[in-house]
Symmetry: C2
Amino acid sequence: MPANSPSSPLSRPLTLRDVSEASGVSEMTVSRVLRNRGDVSETTRSKVLEAAKSLGYVPNKIAGALASQRVNLVAVMVPSLSNMVFPEVLTSISQVLDQTELQPVFGVTNYEPEREEKVLYEMLSWRPSGVIIAGLEHSEASKAMLKAAGIPIVEIMDVDGEPVDAMVGISHRRAGREMANAIVEAGYERIGFLGTKMPLDHRARKRFEGFTEALAKAGLEVADQEFYSGGSALAKGREMTETILTRTPDLDFLYYSNDMIGAGGLLYCLDKGIDVPGQIGLAGFNGVELLDGLPRQLATMDACRAEVGRAAAEIIAKRVSDPSIASGERIVLKPQIDFGDTLRRR
Amino acid sequence: MPANSPSSPLSRPLTLRDVSEASGVSEMTVSRVLRNRGDVSETTRSKVLEAAKSLGYVPNKIAGALASQRVNLVAVMVPSLSNMVFPEVLTSISQVLDQTELQPVFGVTNYEPEREEKVLYEMLSWRPSGVIIAGLEHSEASKAMLKAAGIPIVEIMDVDGEPVDAMVGISHRRAGREMANAIVEAGYERIGFLGTKMPLDHRARKRFEGFTEALAKAGLEVADQEFYSGGSALAKGREMTETILTRTPDLDFLYYSNDMIGAGGLLYCLDKGIDVPGQIGLAGFNGVELLDGLPRQLATMDACRAEVGRAAAEIIAKRVSDPSIASGERIVLKPQIDFGDTLRRR
DNA sequence: GAGCAATCCGTTAGCGATAACATAGAAGAT
DNA sequence: ATCTTCTATGTTATCGCTAACGGATTGCTC
């Protein structure tokens, strides 16, 4: 039997009062039953539940939240959904929050600070119980809003900087440095960099900075670089690789700012019969699942996406259930290089 | 200057009253300024805005929504974020709604009807202005809730069935049939099917049904099939292809239920030096961007993801701005086969 | 059987905003 | 100078629910 079979086809939205009248008890009692709060006798409990179900009543959380000053939502903000990294983080956040009474609400900022500010404002106006937000770089106004919100804030995916409150992630500078060191140790010397043309992707920028810094320490520098924007990352990876190798044929290593373009580059090299990792070494970043299916395993470094999402959600859950807990947690994950088949080891 | 520099470090959350007192006008006037409603003189307007900004006030939409009985949220429910199809749809929905005052709120159902029901209940309890939900198959209770909600509902991605209200999508049965016909016309006869082990993915099921139905009309049937669950789709595509070809070596066509496993199959065949599409033809489904970068273009059929998201969001936007518009829109998109390089043409 | 706690349920007063109406002053009409 | 008509602002009454408290019953103790 359908949950809703209203005897009268009324159009007015249902309220507690309707359920109260249908079951012959006060609104307060109905409210208690529907929230499993306080003492209610088994008789009235079932009476109320039946009435609610047969009416098809859905409680109004807006009114409930206003009255109780509690909202079970957690705002989650990421820059994009196109890069699989973010859906993966969202998924792991969901998994943790599913076990609590909290509910995630996702927002997308398109890597634009103004948009981040707007979306954040919008989300905070619903008075969520916590915020999980990607990155440490935000507009002054956004930071002020986060600080003033008086709720747990977790900045994720990056730890190179000062968080407003808590943070969980990896150091992208360190990731860049470590990859550079591995490349240098393997004996590569003519190194090319391929990335996205996105000045606002701070994490990619930091990896690049860490990368060049470590190369510099070894007396090396990036011999050539190539950037792209838009389009299919895999196809772009091919194109860019062709472009850079045509322009600078003596490159012996290509570092890609993400695995998708790296995979494109790998496919290109294999097509052309280039010896990988002998003639040219390749490495990407992220550890995306996709790589498993490639003809050869691309060297990469995991961004710990699932772990980051999980830890962030756990921090929020813990702080919401016990507000007295100290704030400002800092969880720094340390990903290891996966050498795969495209980065030779010394 | 930061947006918020409260002179007193009060901990109590800010309300309209605080702004009202700070700017010396009534709460109502502050409300009018903040919503750009009604007539307010330029002098008071700027006075109020300044006060609000310096306090760092963020309006409470919960109270606002309760009082005005209007909520600018649109609930969007998809089964998963792992299949790139859904993030793409969400992105195109966002793009359309960004130009309106509406805001999407995303929910994930994991292909589970019970979870869909729960998430839907949760979302409806916030009284959104509309719902966009993937698929036409829902529990009775979910359908009842959708009908009773009294708001525009758009079911997307599938049109093989009866919608609660509006629907936008493609016919997966037809997609399966058309692919079968193209395969038959090209002269393939020993056909294998590879898909996901997901009884609740109704769209994949319908494609398969349409596929076998059209084959049957041509006097053919699926010679062998293989299913998988979990893991990297690309790697699984390789494994499954190896398995099915080992078991049934005389297959001359492989139809994959999605592009990712199809791509894995393609890479496998190329690795093994199999002549594609001469010895074996291949086809997938979805038209994912990824395919562009592959060594050879996989035959596929676009699911019209961007178009579906756009049309659905437009229906909601239109109906919200003018509730008198007739409901029950039905938009049936007709994707064409992309033959790529893996399905020979007669 | 008076006293007292426990159990169950109702009453009252908001939560923070907005709709709808009311009102004061300024500008224009006659 | 009086009467409109705006324009700009304030007042009042909800919106639907829950926190906090209060009042009946009931059952138990001594």
